[in-house]
Subunit: 334 residues, 2 copies
């Protein structure tokens, strides 16, 4: 079965979404032929709060079983494809669900978590976020946690981390890491985007980059064109090859602005932080009109074809690269 | 009442203990005429676990009300002295009880917490611990938390923090901070002891230092003599004056070795960290024979007299300096 499905080479994978989940969105995943989505189940939630989010997802899986299924392994992703369902992979954008307890990682692995960011904008117990002024690199606990994540098959994600911590994580981790949702700074300069130095180190170590469609990560923001976006992918492939890149859209479909406030402020400040926004523009920015839902991956495929990618490359970038990465990343170490 | 009591100038204050509390120890506090003790109620405990420790202390206050009373203000400390009871002040050695939630500080203030260390050996969400390789200084959340502690009258304690974070905390805090339990490195070099640079900055900003009697902080460890200890106090007073120094014994009377393992390892590692100890010597070190319980503060007083301190200076160092610091530190900002 695996061989037959793989030979189709035709996967659509989105390695980051955090939508305001609903039947409509799960239907769109199917109608858009999206095979696998890595969904965020915690931003700043602690252990118990994240368990509540798992309970919510259990409800979704029970209620919408014709569209979606929870997956934690390569085989489960292939099974989902065979059953014409979207495989949902769980991840955290912050280590807050393990609180200060390294042993919670194994609990979360059993509950299906396959990605964890070591920091989200701010300093965590493990690593530094991209909004901090100074980055001392991995902490003592950070190193211990990476070892444990490597053992368990939970992918280290450094999307919101700063440079030194990211470089150290790439080198310290015995398994390739991921930056699930960010773009190169050579295309658009932003604290959340990634320098050539980070990307080189990431790709040299077989790590994956997922290109983001969150407007603050895009050249010209919400007005970014699909051609400009695809040319950025083209330049990245020219510089670094096309085997370690994919999509991580960061799609936050239908979320109210209170959610972006939670993402930015968590519970760490009594004043209000506007992150990439401003006090006069504090909410979610509008998505580009060519990428508003799971129905729109075809626009990216067409854009990639338009700028000269061949079918094999398009299939790699749109999903197969992530699928291969998942195959090597989600097994526990023997 | 205040004036009369203060004019006695005769306070014994210990600004850090973490004993295996019992009737015996509370009796010793009274027999040793100890007026006030800052006790640790959390090392690595999270919010809920620290609440359990508060419940335990409520039991102690109810059961041993002839010896001890909870105090959170200058007036309550004076009242306790008048009633011939030892005033117990609560503190945290780690910000773990506030988890990632700055608003918990006000909850803890109402429950009587008056000291919080910003980090304990490792990196925290707020600042760096003295066992980390790199110290980036205060984090974004660290700065927000200091502002809130200043507002509430919770003292910033940097006993287990590293140098840059400590210097930044001293300068960032609008109120004087404390290093409740540590000694100068000019006397005994140890990661936990404090450099001249840190001490100068602390004292220039009216911060307090409590001299520790934990053997790993002492010259010659458990064999340190009371004269050597008192000469260290003498040198500190010569260098920096005698108005901002006191005692913070770090006495861990009757604690089993499992407790020092908890202090060092918390839940941050799956291997075992020996901290100041070694694999062949992992437990609590024995106390010097002249400081084993709350009955032994007289030995320090005698030692100070022996090396030439006058009564007024001895009274300052043994308690009055801390009492004056508490008077200015525990009130909420108007």
């Amino acid at each position: 079965m695996s061989t037959e499905l793989e030979s189709s080479n035709n996967f659509t994978v989105d390695c980051l979404q955090y939508a305001n989940w609903s039947k409509e969105i799960f239907e769109q995943m199917r109608n858009g032929r999206v095979d696998c989505v890595h969904v965020t189940i915690a931003y700043h939630e602690n252990f118990r709060e994240t368990i509540l989010n798992v309970e919510q997802w259990n409800d979704y899986f029970n209620s919408y079983s014709e569209y979606i299924v929870h997956a934690g392994s390569y085989d489960e992703i292939l099974s989902a494809k065979k059953d014409k369902k979207t495989a949902i992979i769980f991840g955290f954008q912050n280590p807050s669900p393990i609180e200060d307890d390294i042993a919670l990682l194994e609990v979360w692995q059993k509950l299906g978590i396959r990605f964890m960011q070591l920091s989200y904008n701010n300093q965590s117990l493990l690593a530094t976020g991209c909004y901090e002024e100074n980055d001392p690199g991995l902490t003592r606990m950070g190193k211990e946690v990476i070892k444990e994540m490597n053992r368990l098959g939970i992918v280290v994600d450094m999307s919101h981390s700063s440079d030194r911590s990211t470089l150290e994580a790439i080198n310290y981790s015995s398994r390739p890491i991921a930056i699930t949702h960010a773009n190169p700074t050579f295309w658009h300069s932003a604290l959340r985007n990634k320098s050539n130095e980070v990307l080189e180190c990431l790709f040299e170590n077989n790590g994956m980059l997922g290109f983001s469609l969150y407007p603050y990560h895009l050249n010209n923001g919400s007005k970014c064109t699909v051609t400009d976006f695809c040319e950025m992918i083209g330049k990245t492939a020219e510089k670094f090859g096309s085997k370690n890149i994919g999509i991580g859209s960061d799609l936050c479909q239908n979320q109210p602005d209170t959610i972006v406030e939670w993402m930015r402020n968590g519970r760490w400040t009594k004043t209000r932080d506007f992150g990439e926004g401003t006090s006069s523009n504090p909410g979610f920015p509008p998505q580009p009109n060519w990428f508003k839902s799971n129905m729109d991956f075809g626009n990216i495929k067409n854009g990639l074809r338009h700028i000269g990618f061949d079918n094999a490359e398009i299939n790699s970038i749109m999903g197969l690269n992530w699928i291969n990465f998942f195959k090597n990343s989600f097994e526990k170490e023997k």
